[in-house]
Amino acid sequence: MAETARTPLDPGFTRRYRFHGGLRLQVCQEAPAAQPIRHAGIPAQLILPLAQHIGDPARCLVRVGEHVLGGQCIAEAVGTVSAPVHAPTSGTVTAIEPRPVPHPSGLPATCLVIEPDGMDQTGVKAAPAGDYLQQEPAALLEQLRAAGIVGLGGAGFPTALKLARKHPIELLLINGAECEPCIACDDGLMRERAREVIEGVRILRHIVQPAACVIAVEDNMKESEQALRTALQELDEQHIRVLTVPAIYPTGGERQLIKVLTNREVPSQGFPADIGIVCQNVGTAAAAYAAIARTEPLRSRIVTMTGDGVRSPCNLEVLIGTPVRHLVEVAGGYTDHIERLLIGGPMMGYTISTDAVPVIKTTNCVLAVTAQSMPAPPPAQPCIRCGKCTEACPADLLPQQLYWHAHAANYDATQDYGLFDCIECGCCAYVCPSHIPLVQYYRHAKTAIWAQEKQQRAADIARERHEARLVRLERIRQERAEQLASKKQALTGKDAGDAARQASIQAALERVRRKKEQADIAPRNTDNLTPQQLRQIEEAEQRRASKTTGRGNPQEPPGQ
């Protein structure tokens, strides 16, 4: 299948391909990207979760009360899929404890809390490498890893790991298409810092060594496109191309973007590298540039603070760990009827119940909205199987069938209908005339299946242990039995000796008896007799015989 998915690359990238479904969403038309990026400044407290990326949480390296410098590594990566965390500014570690974090579950997680001292002192930096394009890719990867760079587009996969693929890469695709409407952090970055983006892409290109390298922006991001082209010209960069793609949600999704530009489909449950493509976000590229050229670890990022729930929506440069509350203050505070806070965009974002939640490496947007722009969903009606969801699904699934089976808790069937190919983009729920919270059903089904699998694994382990225990018990029982037997033997050893002695006595007696018998038969005293004696014996015998016969037959005359 991977083979059919791999159509040859058109070096000119002249065609745009269409993925199935998707939506042209007309929301957030006045994006905050038009205004310059503002610095959010240093908040009163920074909350740094140990897990800001996909993979294992980092391990804390500091203690409560310790003073840290900006850029100091305060938690180290554990294992391969992990990323370190750095102090965004100088200050004192005041707590290491569970705090509310930006996660759909709403559950708290372990965080390092830093109270900044306001001095923003930075630690001793290593001297920047001269021309980084002359360095070994492996050395650059190590620097990216140490700088804690993860995918800033949303997933937060450790960048060094994603770049260090063994396959030869045909295309390095830099994703400048926003994930969702309303999010404008990438747009703002490209407009203002196009050079940094391009420099970052150069670094990534040097590491990956792809045949082609493309930056994709949506066709309604004219300023960004222009800024990138200008930067390319200024840097005299011939190997990077800027291409536009139609602004159809969810083109910003990795799989969809790859399809649009190359007509290749990332295999289900596979990775872009499987079809010779590496995809990175523009923000990640800029962060990579800062990490290599300025030896700066990932301390801040651009976050779009928008929605009709804040007074002046804007793009903000925010220190990682800054609480959402601080962003809202910088954006002019809440409007009167604020009802919902979202992390992410309007289609895939999740709500948070408190604005104490911090910005983490993957936070691209905070939406504060009123019930007017995003009213509570109307009550769900029965599914009438109209098929609008099927038309809208970018993964070519049958959402209404998935819903049917998820609703019935028929999880095998949901998997058969491709539940895990669902990217939870929300297109189906958006078009559903019955207002069924479809994505919620899919998430629930996925969670239930994961829980089942976990339970299954636990049960398998328990069964294995049980069986091993049975085997062990049996072995112990046998060993005990053997031990017992040998002990018993040891105990009853005397009797056994007697028996043997008796047997030998018996044998001796037997021998004696035999000998005796033989003696009875063999040594007769009639052997070796003189003829005279023999004659006497004969006579005696005859006499005896005649006497016997005389008694037996009285009529016969004696001595005839």
Binding site: T4, R255, S268, R340, P375, I384, C386, G387, V439
Partner: protein, 342 residues
């Protein structure tokens, strides 16, 4: 401050079942107007009777099932079922025909299966077929197209079953073009002889206008995306192509494709009945097969069957096949070689 929590997506919803049902009812208006013009007051009387009894039956069943009544009644699906059934009924049929038909449609074909979204058969067509097999005589009471009886005659016929004194029922009613075509061909006559009497410019006399109006409403529904193109297109193609094939082989005995397309319930069926999403196929490819099947079966029943039209039976038969068709026509999932799990 505690903020409210919801599941994504967060944008206000775009579509609405109630609005979809309303739009289907709107799209029926040109057809209803045309039918009223062709066949008189009986059309509106039927719509009122069937609509009201469908709503009553729905309300009663919801009450019995312990479900909320008002929100479900307001979704408009019961009214739509009643109206669609009424449009299939002859305008001079006695009043209890519409009442029994729509009550059966709602009670047996819809609510007993679990209400909206759960019925495997098209309720309006189930109701119609029950009437057709139970009361075949009453279902022939069509007035001559374009020459409808006046209101008092219609009222008398519908509510007493007898024409007003001095009029003969046979002078008012007339076989539909579909019926007479079958009868005449059965009597050994040939199609060219029937031109002008049975058929008009395109389809059956008068009925061609009615079909054109339904086509108009249907195209509007496509435009506003209440229905999708697959089922109507495939059904009309199935009907027309089968008709064309037989017409080319024997033009004297098999009607032209345009006659089939513009007679009977062809357009009503293609755009308003076969497209009932609940009982139809849901996969895009499946909808093509589903529509095609209805088209071909409609032609077969019209041509060789014993009933005035074939749409109702064709739809019900394909309703039976829909789940199976859906199973075999799943789309290929993105990044996979097939529609099911690898």
């Amino acid at each position: 401050m505690e903020f409210r929590r919801f599941s994504s997506p967060h944008l206000p919803v775009e579509n609405n079942v109630n609005a979809m049902m309303r739009r289907v009812l709107f799209a029926l208006l040109p057809g209803i107007a045309c039918m009223q013009w062709l066949f008189g007051w009986g059309v509106l009387i039927n719509i009122a009777l069937a609509g009201a009894s469908a709503m009553l039956a729905e309300a009663g069943m919801l009450q019995l099932r312990g479900r909320p009544v008002a929100p479900v009644l307001l979704d408009g699906s019961a009214l739509l079922t009643g109206v669609l059934l009424a449009l299939a009924l002859p305008p001079l049929a006695p009043w209890w025909i519409a009442v029994i038909g729509s009550a059966f449609a709602i009670i047996f074909a819809k609510q007993l299966y679990g209400g909206l979204g759960y019925n495997p058969f098209n309720p309006a067509m189930a109701g119609y077929v029950v009437l057709l097999v139970s009361f075949p005589l009453e279902l022939t009471l069509w007035p001559a197209a374009g020459n409808p009886p006046d209101l008092s005659t219609t009222l008398a016929l519908v509510f007493t079953g007898n024409p007003p004194p001095g009029t003969l029922i046979d002078a008012i009613t007339m076989a539909t073009p579909m019926d007479s075509l079958r009868t005449q061909i059965g009597l050994g006559r040939q199609l060219p002889e029937l031109a002008g009497t049975v058929s008009g410019y395109l389809g059956g006399t008068g009925w061609e206008w009615l079909n054109a109006c339904y086509l108009l409403g249907g195209l509007w529904l496509l435009r506003v995306k209440v229905i999708q193109w697959q089922i109507p297109a495939a059904m009309l193609a199935g009907l027309a192509l089968t008709a064309l094939l037989f017409h080319l082989v024997d033009p004297a005995h098999y009607a032209t494709p345009q006659f089939h397309l513009f007679s009977g319930a062809a357009m009503l069926g293609a755009f308003f009945i076969a497209t009932d999403p609940v009982s139809a196929c849901t996969t895009p490819r499946g909808r093509l097969w589903y529509g095609l099947g209805i088209g071909v079966l409609t032609w077969v029943i019209r041509t060789w069957g014993g009933y005035p039209d074939g749409v109702a039976f064709a739809v019900l038969l394909m309703n039976l096949a829909a789940p199976t068709i859906d199973h075999f026509t799943r789309p290929r999932i993105f990044g996979r070689s097939s529609g099911s799990a690898p």
